[in-house]
């Protein structure tokens, strides 16, 4: 039982992270190779507050999210105006810089030896609940005015601007919202494993998330969430294949990308979600 619960908890945390990538990459078309660093910001902020100041979970999470958003704002201001190829590079550089800072402030963060003894506040129901909340928030964002503007910007910035969309503003909004979710995933993670170290948040993790979103279908939130669950548990399912499992995983992803480039879900959304969203819009 404990085994299934731990898989469920980690999967829920992955789902939170994936909704953030869905918002940033799927909706706004921004390509962040340093998103894992925002997870680190959330994890370390909450972890330090909990261990050093004995802060309770909820305020620590709030501070974690706020720190993530602040970092996103600072990175976003100069970056989001650049061409898209450069956003990947700058976020990548930011990720490396954050890891360097974490390693170099050992008296606060524990450096490479990590931050230990974070109180395990994240229980399975908390993680699942927050995952559901994150998905609902992302869905509402998608069907809101801002979501539609994001999609317009992703498809054609010039056209979107000519229709009166504040391109830089909407990109910033998606980046802030997404990074808040990433930081949230980080706070959950820190309070589940009770231990974080800088090496966990390298760019390959950001790349893995992007792969998951594309696997599910970059235009489908349903797809992203389902892919997070499937690919999050796949290494677990393949555990018995030992060293082969990551190779099998990669082959599967290559097959999907090649033979079904729109991901397994394409642009499909669960009808239920759409109808709820419609009701939301009417109510709002």
């Amino acid at each position: 039982m404990g085994y299934y619960l731990s898989v469920l908890t980690f999967t829920s945390i992955t789902v939170v992270a994936i909704t953030s990538i869905y918002v940033i990459t799927g909706l706004a078309g921004l390509f962040s190779l340093g998103q894992a660093a925002f997870m680190a910001v959330g994890a370390y902020t909450s972890g330090i507050l909990i261990t050093r100041l004995s802060m309770p979970f909820l305020p620590a999470v709030v501070f974690g999210i706020a720190a993530g958003m602040l970092a996103a704002f600072l990175v976003g201001i100069p970056t989001l105006k650049l061409r898209r190829d450069y956003i990947a590079l700058v976020t990548f550089g930011f990720g490396e810089a954050i890891i360097a800072i974490l390693n170099n402030t050992a008296n606060v963060t524990g450096g490479a030896m990590g931050l230990v003894g974070i109180t395990p506040y994240t229980t399975t129901p908390v993680a699942v609940g927050i995952a559901v909340l994150a998905v609902v928030l992302a869905r509402n964002f998608k069907y809101s005015r801002f979501g539609r503007q994001c999609i317009a910007v992703k498809n054609d910035e010039v056209a979107a601007a000519s229709m009166g969309v504040n391109v830089a503003g909407i990109k910033m909004m998606a980046f802030l919202f997404g990074s808040a979710l990433t930081a949230l995933a980080g706070t959950l993670y820190a309070s589940y494993t009770t231990y974080v170290e800088p090496g966990l948040f390298v760019w390959t993790l950001s790349a893995e998330w992007i792969i998951i979103v594309f696997f599910g279908g970059v235009n489908s939130l349903t797809g992203a969430v389902v892919a997070a669950v499937l690919l999050g548990t796949l290494p677990e399912i393949l555990r018995a294949t030992a060293e082969w499992r990551i190779a099998i995983y990669s082959v599967l992803v290559l097959l999907i990308i090649n033979f079904r480039p729109s991901g397994i879900f394409g642009e499909y959304e669960l009808p239920l979600w759409r109808s709820i969203a419609r009701r939301f819009r009417r109510a709002g």
């Binding site: 650049l82 360097a100 800072i101 790349a207 792969i211 970059v218 190779a247």
Partner: protein
């Protein structure tokens, strides 16, 4: 004196990065995405080179040649498996990126599966480990690497700028459909480019293996090539080399700066990168080559 020696060190580090950055630039030039499968490719090549020397007991030259050839062939396979279908379906660029990262993970893991219960290293190819020029010195492998990367780069330039096939590759990178209308076999030309990328990965892999021993994550270094190639101007080959050498110099110099050292140099590199991209978004290449941004 110390400073000049540091510059020499930075140059040799830059030579390593430039072998990688050129591979990035070549693919970006044509397909407009950063090909992260190159890291896996380099790792595979390093092990292939090692197997070649171990099995046949060959010298450096023959090993390099055979590995470059093998690298080329593997790169053709990578193109076939990871990118050809995407191209046929006109997929957005980000799919190429996802495909390339996944391909890189796959290659790295295949190496892990076959080789990862021990460390391996190339035999020694040079009798003397350093070459001295008066008060300065340079590692023989670094010197060889600098020499071979510069000469292979020169050959690449000749191919690209002096042959019809090379001109076709450049034409392709500017306007793929117009190139088709000229009767250029685009699949063939792209395969040819990947072959070149594989050749560079082969050379790079052997040198990285010689210098840094063999382990499955050897290809991790490609991130430096990525930074260098973007700073150099996306898809510009000469720019990528200059970017790589500047990055090598910068890193070596930063290590010697009190208060920064190696630990905080990623932060400084990030800030410089950011300022650079804001001030000069076309990359370094704008200065050197007038060609496309």
């Amino acid at each position: 004196m110390y400073f000049l020696q540091q510059i020499l060190n930075g140059l040799s580090l830059g030579a390593v990065y430039s072998l990688i950055a050129v591979g990035f630039a070549l693919v970006f030039n044509i397909l407009k995405f950063s090909n992260f499968s190159q890291g896996g490719l380099i790792t595979v090549c390093a092990y292939i080179g090692f197997m070649i020397t171990r099995t046949f007991g060959l010298g450096l030259g023959a090993t390099l040649a055979l590995t470059a050839l093998a690298g080329g062939v593997i790169a053709l396979l990578v193109e076939r498996v990871a990118f050809r279908r995407l191209r046929r379906k006109n997929s957005p660029l980000i799919y190429y990126f996802v495909s390339s990262i996944t391909m890189g993970i796959l290659l790295e893991n295949l190496i892990t599966i076959y080789f990862s219960s021990n460390f391996y290293a190339f035999p020694r190819f040079f009798a003397r480990s350093t070459v001295r020029f008066g008060p300065f010195f340079m590692a023989t492998t670094d010197l060889a690497m600098l020499g071979i990367s510069l000469s292979s780069l020169l050959i690449l330039m000749i191919v690209l700028y002096r042959t019809t096939f090379g001109t076709a590759i450049r034409a392709l990178s500017m306007d793929m459909n117009a190139a088709r209308l000229m009767g250029i076999n685009v699949n063939f030309a792209i395969a040819g480019t990947f072959f070149l990328v594989g050749v560079f990965a082969g050379l790079g892999g052997v040198f990285l293996g010689i210098n840094y021993t063999l382990y499955p994550q050897l290809g991790k270094l490609i991130v430096k090539g990525f930074v260098a190639s973007v700073v150099g101007g996306l898809g510009n080959i000469l720019g990528a080399v200059v970017g790589a050498i500047l990055l090598g110099l910068l890193e070596v110099i930063l290590v010697g700066v009190p208060g920064i050292g190696s630990g905080l140099s990623p932060v400084v590199v990030f800030v410089i990168l950011l300022v650079f991209l804001i001030v000069r978004p076309q990359g370094i290449a704008g200065i050197i080559v007038k060609e496309k941004v």
